[in-house]
């Protein structure tokens, strides 16, 4: 069995469509982030990991009534509580409820909210429950984690740039990192558009998709490098097109299969991994697209720009590399 045998698409001719597509999604994401910024002072909804606050997940014996729980909270004087039921795939009855309190500004009373919620349930709501999950995060720890997550993302991009610079050339590294940034922007934008929270595990997913997108891009770049070495007479756009077409079968297969594993994670992985797998489902689609539509055309665009400047057009030829 075989898909895509002898494909011959002129990808570079589509570059203006690609640019339009990327711009529409990036701009939509940025606008949505801007609107969030206006409303909550942060470009996306942040999970309790980063924002700080209190979350108590309780499993009740009988199907709980949200209004009764709210009354129980009001009666105990617990303010600003958000109450929502959690629907699990394998337990649609929804006996689990997530009660959240907004972030506190003072760490000395950090644990109070949790106590108040549990006391209020015990005192005012006659439905036995067990506490399944508690998250109490103070503002300091949230800030530390936020900073750490940003730094980790930045460093990992930098690390990859340096590696590609060393193995290929600087422009390859820059093109790959720009493509990754494009993917991250659109994925985070998707979180903003769909009003989903970004938690620590979502950050792990975003870093994974950066790795995946990079992986895809390198496969194409590797082929470009190899073809440049083999056929010096061909023009760069022709080499790039041919390389994309040659690797297309692999690109679609791998992305398709990875997409299937991530999809199974999204469907069966449960509520805890929902945000994580959502980021990957979006990220793998975008990451595959960007290695063909963003990274490779950037090499050509850079070459053409150099030509217009009247500089030598021999780049980006491959560095000598023995197989």
């Amino acid at each position: 069995m075989e898909f895509f045998r002898g494909v011959n698409v002129d990808w570079l001719r589509l570059k203006w469509y690609f640019l339009a597509f990327s711009l529409i999604f990036s701009v939509a994401g940025i606008i949505s982030m801007g609107m969030h910024w206006q409303r909550i002072g942060s470009p996306v909804l942040l999970g309790v990991d980063f924002k700080g606050g209190t979350q108590v997940q309780a499993q009740f014996t009988r199907t709980p009534n949200i209004n009764s729980i709210r009354r129980a909270m009001d009666a105990a004087g617990v303010k600003d509580a958000t109450i929502q039921t959690i629907k699990a795939v394998d337990d649609p009855s929804g006996n689990e409820v997530l009660i959240s309190l907004p972030e506190q500004h003072d760490e000395s009373s950090l644990d109070q909210g949790r106590k108040q919620i549990i006391d209020a349930l015990q005192a005012n709501y006659a439905n036995p429950f067990i506490v399944q999950n508690v998250q109490v995060v103070g503002p300091t720890v949230g800030k530390q984690l936020e900073k750490q997550a940003l730094l980790a993302t930045l460093y990992s991009m930098l690390g990859m740039l340096v590696y590609l610079w060393f193995r290929f050339q600087l422009i390859y590294g820059v093109a790959a990192v720009v493509a990754c940034f494009h993917d991250t922007l659109i994925t985070v934008g998707a979180f903003a558009l769909t009003n989903q929270e970004i938690s620590l595990t979502v950050i792990a997913a975003i870093l994974t998709l950066v790795g995946y997108s990079m992986n895809d891009t390198i496969v194409v770049f590797d082929r470009i490098r190899e073809n440049l070495r083999l056929s010096r007479r061909e023009s760069l756009p022709d080499v790039v097109n041919r390389s994309i077409n040659q690797t297309l079968s692999r690109t679609v297969l791998t992305s398709g299969l990875t997409f299937l594993t991530v999809l199974s994670l999204y469907i069966f992985g449960g509520q805890v991994l929902r945000g994580f797998s959502f980021a990957l489902v979006v990220g793998i689609l975008i990451g595959t697209y960007s290695s063909i539509a963003v990274a490779a055309p950037m090499l050509v665009a850079w070459q053409e720009w150099r030509a217009r400047q009247g500089k030598e057009a021999a780049l980006p030829a491959a560095k000598r590399f023995k197989v």
Binding site: M1, R114, A204, D222, L257, L273, V323
Partner: protein, 539 residues
């Protein structure tokens, strides 16, 4: 030409055997349950899968610094008085800056004497300088000393928490400094089932106390009650004693104690094991803070010959007779073993938290939620693997078997490594496994597509395989190294869930370099060896 593959096959079998040992160790039996138990003994499950509690605590180290300089202020006054050097006051001018001490109003004639006294006695720990006027001095704790004191405070807090956690009976607790912030402690308590249990760890700071003994020991509570006329007076209380007395037999008895403590937990400054120079008996020497010392002197001088009880965790641990008045130094003597002395001094030291703790973060996962997560994560992984394996078989036919074997081997090596190094498997870790599967498939796809290209170009099967592997290898190295670079950065900068993810991803990718390239190649070669003239590779 046929290749000799025996040594390569032997290597693969050896790696496989080591990894299977890594996963299971030597299981007690071969039933599914035995194997499952053997596996969870070696591969630790993270809090999110097993259930448990996670805390980040801030040690308020400034309290410890404050206490230390308070002691210094008291000592300074005493030293200056003893040396007949007059002064108007010794004090700490800025509550927000506890490292600064000021001495004012020394007589002009004494300034140089005072300076040499300060420098000789305090110069090691403090920077001594002249103040705003000729007759004043400032002492500022040296940054190095302050850092050391903070470190010591952190360590003491960690020890104290560890003692409390041990008392809870939590297995495999993790208590360590938390890297992200200064003076923060991370406490991971797997398997804690009730989140209210966690409370006792950071509350009840005054756990160790010394109380005056009113009467005892009594055989049981009835006897003790009878001794106080049937009901315990309001200012007294009953406390049970459990411990080993001379002769090595353990006893349970009850004491009647004064309710108010003579020495509270945070009155201890230090405690060390030592040996009494006169009797040769082992003992614990302790130092009290200045204030507590004054109080203790007052009490002991009035009560020579009476008994005091060391109470820990609401139980009497030791009863001692007051030999003489004690100020801030004392010892607890008894027929202790070396271990007991070390333990007791540690308890004295740690029973009191050196500074109060503040919760910065608290997470609790119920065991049943953890079990749900395992089931869902494993289901997702199995479904993902099955889909991929079936697809590879359909798409690459004979070579698909090759890819599937490599994939299974990859998972065995990954789990084997986790087991051998007692790594912790977390929920994001399972996600990392799933992503490893994706990358593993990618390597196979890269190689197979390349071999197909070479076959299409008209190459003979063995040459096509050769070329396919050679070309794909470059790409595979580049993609793997890039991802390992980012996973390693995640591991270095990440905490908790992110770290678990980076662990499995890194190990999985390394395993993949072995399985997708080396193992897969050996299977291909073995297949080529069997291939007759003119036959094609099934790909």
């Amino acid at each position: 030409m046929k290749k000799n593959l025996n040594s390569k096959i032997a290597l693969i079998v050896a790696v496989l055997a080591i990894c299977v040992y890594g996963i299971f160790g030597v299981p007690s039996g071969l039933t599914g349950k035995d194997l499952g138990e053997a596996m969870t003994k070696r591969i630790h499950l993270g809090l999110d899968l097993r259930g448990g509690a996670h805390l980040i605590l801030q040690v308020k180290v400034l309290e410890a610094v404050n206490a230390e300089t308070d002691n210094t202020v008291a000592l300074l006054r005493e030293n200056l008085k003893t040396a007949n050097l007059s002064f108007s006051q010794v004090y700490k001018p800025d509550p927000a800056k506890p490292t600064l001490i000021k001495i004012e109003g020394t007589a002009p004639a004494n300034v140089s004497d005072a300076r040499s006294l300060l420098e000789s006695k305090y110069g090691n720990e403090y920077d001594v300088a002249s103040g705003d006027t000729d007759s004043s001095f400032t002492l500022v704790m040296k940054p190095m000393i302050e850092t050391a004191l903070e470190k010591k405070t952190d360590q003491q807090a960690i020890e104290a928490i560890r003692d409390r956690v041990d008392a809870l009976g939590v297995s495999e607790p993790q208590i360590q400094e938390y890297g992200l912030g200064d003076n923060q402690i991370l406490v991971d308590l797997p398997g804690v089932e009730n989140e209210s249990q966690i409370e006792s760890i950071i509350q009840g700071t005054n756990r160790l106390e010394i109380h005056a003994v009113v009467g005892g020991p009594y055989k049981d509570e009835q006897e003790a009650l009878a001794s106080v006329g049937g009901s315990v007076p309001a200012d007294q209380e009953l406390k049970s004693f459990s411990g080993v007395v001379e002769g090595g037999s353990s006893v349970e008895s009850v004491y009647v104690l004064q309710r108010a403590s003579v020495v509270a937990g945070n009155d201890f400054r230090s405690a060390d094991p030592s040996v009494n120079s006169n009797t040769g008996q082992r003992e614990v020497q302790f130092t009290l803070t200045n204030e507590a010392g004054d109080k203790f002197y007052d009490y002991t001088s009035k009560n020579v010959g009476r008994s005091m009880a060391v109470v820990m965790n609401d139980r009497v641990r030791e009863v001692a007779t007051i030999q003489s008045a004690i100020r801030d130094r004392g010892e607890i003597t008894g027929s202790f073993s070396a271990d007991e002395v070390a333990a007791l001094s540690k308890l004295l030291r740690t029973g009191a938290l050196p500074a109060s703790l503040q919760q910065m973060e608290k997470r609790f996962v119920g065991a049943s939620l953890g079990a749900d997560s395992i089931r869902q994560g494993v289901t997702a992984a199995i479904v993902g693997v099955m889909v991929v394996m079936v697809f590879m078989l359909i798409y690459y036919r004979g070579s698909g078997i090759n890819a599937d074997v490599a994939l299974i081997l990859n998972l065995v090596i990954l789990l084997g490594f986790m087991g051998a190094f007692s790594a912790t498997l977390t929920l994001p870790g399972i996600a990392g496994v799933i992503l490893t599967i994706g990358m593993g498939v990618d390597s196979n796809v890269l190689i197979f597509e390349r071999i197909r290209e070479e076959v299409r170009a008209g190459k003979a099967p063995s040459a096509a395989v050769d070329q396919g592997f050679a070309h794909a290898w470059v790409t595979i190295v580049d993609t793997h190294v890039t991802t390992i670079v980012s996973a390693a950065i995640l591991f270095l900068f990440g905490t908790g869930p992110v770290k678990g993810f980076a662990t499995t991803l890194t190990v999985g990718l390394l395993a993949n370099l072995f399985t997708a390239v080396f193992v897969s190649r050996v299977i291909f070669d073995a297949h080529l060896n069997k291939l007759g003239q003119g036959q094609k590779v099934s790909i």
